[in-house]
């Protein structure tokens, strides 16, 4: 027969100080764990939501990111002959591309090949502190057909040939001076005033941290003749591999990467954080398990007679072990719920980090995902079980007679 749950709960309350202290330790470990993981989840969500499985990014071989790549004009020609290159088909819906088709800015049958110019500008953060190096992308209208998840959420699309810029929703939330109607100084000298005419979303992806403006204007303002990268779309996913092989091969000699992989590689950086988190939380978790063990040993020691009495009443050994486990689980899970609640309060806040590959910042949201909650609860359970098993087994082995006799 199992012991009632109220017995466990009341036992916890009986030793207020040590229960509270153990509670705090576990809550703290869970808090740090979930906070660090929500950083990682935020960055991964942002980079993972970027790209289409049919898109290919082309860079100059050797360049590690769009921002350090320059594609010589001569190399652009052969790209139009990429096998499987898709042609624009009319899009309907609310995407920027659909809007461009409707207004005749995009025509059916145009090859889906977009030269893009990646430059940067320094913008102040809303939260203050150092200015951030924010990516500015110069694009032609065709770019909207390739990046089909780009949607204008406020305002309108920029006009080709005008000093107009549309800003990503994440960039607008994180950096100052990007309100609709405001002017942003862009250009090599920062001397051209671009008017913010629209805000766009991109399915929560990394593009939302960027500013987009007409490529010809950006090329002029930044004195840049050469494109940084070319994005192209192939007919279907099966055509990706041959297209990549063609571009990497001798007839073009550039470096092609599936777009999804390009952004996945940028997310590599978060691997370091995951490793660091695991090490830190691992050490802290072991420390916490010992703290729980100390508490539970004390709980067992001070209740020798009580436990012996329970055994004498006919409760089985496993009921005693189960009771102690339940008691500590109750404490640890409550504590982890508390730790999770505290870190969930920061979920949704915007952060940004400077990628050391692209040298531009990525604005992302801290995210508390179900996976993080599960991981945190799992760690709390492991800590609790690891800390309780030894004292619980000792309690179960008590010699009833001796324990009852001893005061």
């Amino acid at each position: 027969m199992a012991l009632p749950l109220t017995y466990n709960a009341r036992n916890l309350v009986a030793r207020k100080l040590s229960s509270t202290l153990t509670f705090l330790i576990v809550a703290f470990v869970v808090f740090v764990l979930s906070l660090l993981l929500s950083f990682v989840a935020g960055i991964r969500a942002s980079l993972g939501a970027t790209g289409s499985p049919r898109n290919i990014i082309v860079l100059k071989p050797g360049a590690t990111a769009e921002s350090t790549s320059l594609i010589p004009l001569d190399d652009l020609g052969p790209l139009i002959q990429t096998p499987g290159l898709a042609l624009a088909t009319p899009l309907t819906g609310t995407s920027a591309a659909a809007e461009a088709f409707a207004t005749g800015r995009l025509r059916v049958g145009e090859p889906l090949l977009s030269q893009e110019l990646a430059v940067q500008t320094m913008l102040p953060r809303r939260a203050g502190g150092a200015a951030a190096n924010v990516a500015v992308r110069g694009v032609d209208d065709i770019a909207f057909a390739l990046h089909a998840d780009v949607r204008i959420s406020a305002g309108r699309l920029f006009t080709p040939g005008a000093l107009e810029v549309i800003v990503g929703a994440a960039a607008q939330a994180r950096f100052a001076g990007l309100e609709l109607g405001a002017t942003v100084p862009l250009g090599r000298k920062g001397e051209r005033a671009y008017k913010v005419v629209g805000v766009f979303t991109a399915g929560g992806g990394a593009l939302e941290s960027e500013l987009w403006a007409p490529r010809t204007m950006i090329a002029d303002s930044f004195h840049r003749r050469l494109a940084s990268s070319v994005c192209l779309q192939v007919r279907d996913e099966a055509a990706v591999a041959p297209a990549v092989a063609y571009i990497n091969g001798p007839s073009v000699g550039l470096e092609a990467k599936p777009e999804l992989q390009y952004y996945r590689d940028l997310a590599e950086k978060t691997r370091e954080i995951v490793v660091l988190t695991s090490v830190l939380v691992g050490i802290m978790g072991i420390g916490a398990a010992f703290a729980v063990a100390t508490t539970m040993y004390a709980a067992v020691d001070s209740r020798r007679r009580e436990l012996a009495m329970l055994r004498a009443l006919g409760f089985a050994r496993r009921s005693i072990v189960a009771a102690l486990l339940v008691e500590s689980l109750l404490l640890c899970l409550l504590a982890s719920a508390c730790g999770l609640a505290v870190s969930a309060a920061s979920s949704g806040t915007r952060q940004d980090f400077l990628s050391d590959t692209t040298w531009t910042v990525l604005a992302y949201e801290l995210r508390m995902t179900p996976g993080i909650v599960a991981t945190a609860l799992l760690v709390a359970t492991a800590v609790s079980v690891a800390g309780t098993l030894a004292p619980a087994l000792r309690a179960a082995r008590l010699n009833i007679i001796v324990a009852l006799r001893k005061a």
Binding site: S18, I25, G62, G287, F290, A291, A293, L354
Partner: protein, 387 residues
């Protein structure tokens, strides 16, 4: 003597509890040492930058825009009464074929590099090799250890920016005594040839470093340079080296700030764990303390008993917890573990000593509540409460 033996036996009355408390205190101290070591490394890096009287001159709009190489002559000619050594830097990043880690390679003006960065090439033989060999490259000690490079090795680095080609170099120095363990410096004239060969625009640099003779000169040039180039197509932003470096650090997850918060929190955890044990010990020995008091021993003895036990446990656990990472990062393969920015982690004994001090504080604070209870303990009440 009797007291000492009593103290000693007190600690080992419940070996299991002592052991577990030691671990619950020692492990947070380990984390404390690791995070403080990282912050310490970053701070020493920045303090070294601050001492160097160097200015970093970048493009005003963004660090990624190049400046004309000719700016060097103009800066040098600004004020002849205030001599300044200017070294142009061209960032080429770089990668070793088939290795994922990005490098941080800078191509420097070969003539002014030794004067601008006097902490490098202190060995006359290395200096001579730098001046003689166009393919010379100075490799930070952390990077050298990571790739197993030694002085005299031939290495090939593929540039991440124009000219994008794989360039052969000769390692002339592994900069053993320099604070920055990461950066590689090659010769700008050699890179310029490669750029010319590949047909990319010449005469551009990423930024300049300028070494001033005095802090007065530094203040002068900090404003004079920007004022001089304000109305050119490429205006400049001049900052001292510390400000220049800290902007990168602040944007990479703000490690110094976040790790300081983390280390403070781990100390709190250690205090909680130790306090838990000490209060349990106190409860267990209530009758004993009451007896001591009844026998006429004063508060001082009870106070000393509890504090000593707490201190002994925390300080020894703290010492073990601190020396663990020190040993691991000084004598084991973990030495090669890479940390963002400062690359290799030096756990200095000073940091360990600080951690032991913190552990002592943890011990004192953890025992505060039991000591307070013990001081107020009235033997009559205590005895009556016993079963």
């Amino acid at each position: 003597m009797l007291i000492l033996s009593y103290l000693h036996r007190n600690i080992w009355r419940n070996p299991l509890r002592v052991l577990m408390t030691g671990l619950a205190v020692g492990l947070p101290i380990t984390i404390f040492v690791l995070s403080v070591a990282v912050v310490d490394g970053i701070n020493r890096f920045l303090d070294n930058s601050a001492r160097q009287l160097r200015l970093a001159i970048t493009h005003k709009s963004s660090i990624v825009y190049p400046l004309p190489a000719g700016y060097r002559g103009k800066i040098e000619a600004l004020d002849h009464s205030r001599p300044i050594t200017v070294c142009a830097m061209r960032w080429i990043g770089g990668k070793v074929e088939d290795k994922p880690q990005p490098l941080s390679t800078l191509a420097a003006d070969p003539d002014t590099f030794p004067a601008t960065f006097p902490e490098y090439l202190t060995d006359p033989a290395e200096r001579a090799a730098w001046e003689r060999d166009r393919q010379a490259i100075v490799v930070g000690r952390g990077t050298a250890a990571q790739f197993g490079w030694r002085v005299g090795d031939r290495i090939t680095i593929r540039a991440s920016v124009p000219p994008y080609s794989a360039i052969p170099f000769h390692v002339v120095s592994t900069a053993q005594d320099v604070v920055d363990p990461v950066t590689l410096f090659c010769r700008g004239d050699y890179l310029e040839e490669e750029i010319k060969r590949q047909g990319y625009p010449e005469g551009l640099v990423s930024f300049f470093f300028a070494k001033c003779r005095s802090s007065d000169d530094l203040e002068f040039y900090r404003t004079a340079i920007d004022a001089h180039f304000a109305n050119t197509p490429d205006p400049t932003l001049t900052q001292d080296e510390k400000a220049f470096m800290s902007q990168f650090i602040a944007q990479q997850f703000d490690l110094p700030r976040n790790l300081t918060i983390l280390s403070a929190l781990t100390v709190v955890v250690a205090i909680i764990a130790a306090a838990n044990t000490m209060s349990m010990n106190f409860r267990d020995r209530l009758a004993e303390y009451a007896a001591l008091k009844a026998l006429g021993f004063g508060r001082a003895l009870v106070f000393a008993l509890i504090q000593f036990e707490s201190l002994a446990i925390c300080v020894s656990a703290g010492a073990l917890g601190a020396l663990g990472p020190w040993y691991a990062f000084t004598y084991t393969p973990l030495r090669r573990f890479t940390v963002p920015l400062i690359q290799s982690l030096d756990v200095r004994l000073a940091v360990c000593a600080q951690a032991v001090g913190i552990a002592a504080a943890v011990g004192l604070i953890a025992a505060a509540w039991p000591v307070w209870l013990a001081a107020r303990l009235r033997p009559v009440v205590a005895f009556r409460a016993l079963e």
